[in-house]
Assembly symmetry: C2
Homo-oligomer: 148 residues x 2
Amino acid sequence: MPIAFHGSKTERDVLSTYVKLVRASETVTAATHRHLADKKLTISQFGVLETLYHLGPLCQAEVARKNLKSTANMTTVVDNLEKRGLVERVRSSEDRRYITLHLTEAGFQLIKEIFPAHVQGLVKGFSVLTAEEQQQLGMLCKKLGMNQ
Amino acid sequence: MPIAFHGSKTERDVLSTYVKLVRASETVTAATHRHLADKKLTISQFGVLETLYHLGPLCQAEVARKNLKSTANMTTVVDNLEKRGLVERVRSSEDRRYITLHLTEAGFQLIKEIFPAHVQGLVKGFSVLTAEEQQQLGMLCKKLGMNQ
DNA sequence: CTATATTAGTTTGATATTTAATGATTCGAT
DNA sequence: ATCGAATCATTAAATATCAAACTAATATAG
């Protein structure tokens, strides 16, 4: 017995918009990260490498915040990147609670090599929208993301 | 040594829009699903219950498709829902490859109880946008999601 | 100064998630 | 009628993910 949702129009509209938002995000993400499999990188690992590539050495908690992840999760992801020799952990001498993450030479070369394809994938994924529509989408998403 | 990204304007704009899209999706999702912790439900478990609640009994592969997940993942999530007595697996007699998922009475009561709060959370999350902006956002996301 | 609070990182325990391989079943084309 | 392709579900192995509890280090209030 299917139970159709009989909320108000506002509620039905919000549900519909929400589903579209999540699907758009996940569809574009899946498509643009598909090429990462070739390099045996997960999306999370790519996120860490990209963060360090563009922002330079950062402590784990900061990388976690930028990637919307917990510090516990960051421990695991960094463990796996470290095993592969793509990042290095450096304990800070000023404040010994902090561990600064650095790209190794191998990590730097890898992210430098794959980042352009990532950007091209995004450009292709967003090409169904005009520049103006993309700008509009960004503005609306920014409002949503800043909330809470 | 931070490496600023020096792509074309198009590339920089796409990257910026993409980050906002993902953040919007994850921010709204996290906020609206926070109350699930009270019921010891994960987001994925909620997704399955909600799908069955609104569409009626479905086979696992169908539920997986609607939630953008793999069938292997669905096996795990359903295992955990079944352990708690919230769903039942029924092997189809017509085509014995299929397993139809049914909400149990307990599962039905649970999703019926928590769904309104879920919708209210979404309404609140989206309230930073006008109805027209939400409609616009949905339209743009739909285009993105349909691609690939 | 000392007690308390806060912050960074880890560990543990549980669930999620994917890919690849496998078994069971059905479909389809010859 | 049968062989091969396709589909559904499961398993295995690896990684991800979070909350909660914990350690270590620093900051702050009294």
